[in-house]
């Protein structure tokens, strides 16, 4: 569904993305991991068209996305730090995005109910705590039944109960055949979610493997241990 080819991006002198290649298809749940500042968020923002790459191409369902916008109809995006207009209430934001998307059919309100956001509908975004803002972001990402879900650090800032709800929702959507892209630092959380791992380092894709292959290669049962053993190997080399 998403094919990234030779993507490069520089911020000043810093090479954030260095010839990144990536292929994602339907029904996969891909974890994008790597140390801080390795280009995960930049890659995601390039797919969304928020960052304009210097060279390389991104195809969504076979079509190049540069300067296009309609393809975003099938993407639900949950940012790392959700930033919303201060003066609008939760209800107004949801209504506005529904109007902008011109979405007529039923929205997916499961998360809305699970997070009990209906009671907070009148609250202005300015008054919300970080966790509640994350809940709003998550709800918005899932609201329009998107084909692709891009979740940037989805569980950061959520309490254990809420992050459990979110994880269940992710598993459910994975079964519905959606493509899910997650970035996270909490490897233990990803264990029962993801089917593939993309490891990025210094703007490059270090490896892209299925979870089974990774566990087989390293002989570890747990994802976190498998990753750390690979990291140790690469340090020895």
């Amino acid at each position: 569904m998403i094919v990234v080819e030779n993507l490069c991006k520089q911020f000043g002198k810093l090479q954030v993305l260095d010839h990144v290649n990536l292929t994602c298809s339907k029904g996969e749940c891909i974890a994008l991991i790597g140390p801080n500042a390795c280009g995960k968020t930049t890659l995601i923002k390039s797919i969304l068209g928020m960052v304009i790459p210097d060279s390389g191409s991104i195809r969504f369902n076979g079509e190049f996305i540069n300067r296009q916008y309609l393809y975003r109809n099938s993407i639900g995006y949950m940012p790392q730090i959700g930033r919303y207009p201060d003066n609008m209430s939760i209800g107004q934001i949801m209504e506005m995005i529904r109007e902008i998307r011109n979405y007529q059919s039923n929205t997916d309100e499961e998360l809305l109910e699970a997070f009990k956001l209906k009671d907070l509908f009148q609250k202005r975004m300015r008054t919300l705590s970080g966790g509640t803002t994350q809940k709003v972001s998550a709800t918005l990402a899932f609201l329009f039944h998107p084909q692709v879900l891009i979740l940037d650090e989805p569980t950061a800032g959520l309490d254990p109960l809420a992050s459990e709800i979110l994880k269940e929702k992710i598993v459910k959507e994975k079964k519905n055949g959606r493509l899910i892209l997650i970035t996270s630092h909490l490897l233990s959380e990803l264990d029962d979610l993801v089917t593939q791992i993309v490891f990025m380092q210094e703007g490059r894709v270090h490896f892209h493997k299925t979870v089974e292959a990774l566990k087989l290669d390293t002989g570890e049962e747990k994802l976190s241990k498998a990753i750390s053993s690979i990291l140790k190997q690469s340090q020895h080399e």
Binding site: F11, K45, L48, G49, M50, V51, I52, R67, Y69, L70, Y71, R72, N73, I75, Y77, P79, R83, Y84, P85, D86, N87, M88, I93, M96, I97, E99, I100, R101
Partner: protein
């Protein structure tokens, strides 16, 4: 109507700054016309208001509003919306609300008290000047991410066009008074939308004695009907050029 424009205008109305601006313009205009028995004198006083306050409010309010809507822009960008549509909606939303404020605040008293041809010219110039400075605010704010810097640029641009520019022009005229530089001065004046607007209104007011040096030179060239058309054309360029440059920058911007 475009849905994003609706949200922008509703948001600006909630903000109340535009409402206060309307009241200030209204208070000034009504009192100016009530104090002077001669409507031309009133118009001249109001002219200075229009040429100083309107650009100032337009450029600063638009700049601050653009910086404050960075969240709004970011939110919309992850949705299926064209970048140019977001930028255009912000431009139209800001211009429309500032124009509305100008029309309600200053336009109505001007239309009531002043003779029709002059009042129309004044209205048109007020509208154009508002839009030109919204457009300049867009250009200024697309270049820097830093809000304080952006507002600083906006204030400097206003200072330059409203005050410094005339000083420079006078300096040029005195320094080169031995040479025939009138044509050059006409050309330089076209580089300042406020000067152009002032000249246009003064030419219609028929008070050439009070026109000052810039205007006196200009009357020879632009006193005619075709001159007015040229001025209007240049002002239209002033509306669209800064906006067009800012749009092409915004399309390539990383957010």
């Amino acid at each position: 109507m475009n849905r994003i424009i609706k949200f922008v205008i509703l948001d600006i109305l909630k903000n109340k700054v535009v409402v206060v601006y309307t009241f200030i313009l209204a208070a000034l205009s009504w009192s100016v016309f009530a104090l002077e028995d001669n409507s031309t004198k009133g118009l001249l006083t109001l002219l200075n208001v229009v040429l100083l306050i309107v650009p100032l409010v337009s450029v600063i309010f638009s700049t601050i509003y653009l910086y404050n809507s960075s969240e709004f822009i970011e939110l919309l960008l992850s949705q299926p919306v064209k970048r140019s549509k977001i930028w255009f909606s912000l431009f139209i939303g800001l211009s429309l609300s500032l124009l509305f404020a100008f029309f309600v605040g200053a336009g109505i008293p001007i239309l009531i008290y002043a003779p029709p041809d002059v009042s129309l010219m004044m209205l048109v110039m007020g509208i154009i000047i508002s839009t030109v400075f919204v457009s300049i605010a867009f250009l200024g704010s697309v270049f820097t991410r830093d809000k304080a810097k952006g507002i600083g640029i906006a204030i400097l641009l206003w200072l330059f066009f409203a005050l410094l520019f005339d000083g420079l022009l006078l300096f040029l005229l005195f320094q080169f008074s031995d040479y025939p530089i009138e044509k050059v001065v006409v050309f330089i004046s076209a580089c300042n939308p406020i000067d152009l607007a002032r000249i246009m209104i003064l030419l219609h007011l028929d008070v050439s004695a009070m026109m000052g040096y810039t205007g006196a030179v200009f009357k020879d060239y632009f006193g005619s009907r075709s001159g007015s058309v040229v001025v209007l054309l240049i002002l239209t360029v002033w509306v669209f050029l800064p906006y067009a440059i800012s749009l092409s920058k915004f399309k390539k911007k990383d957010l």
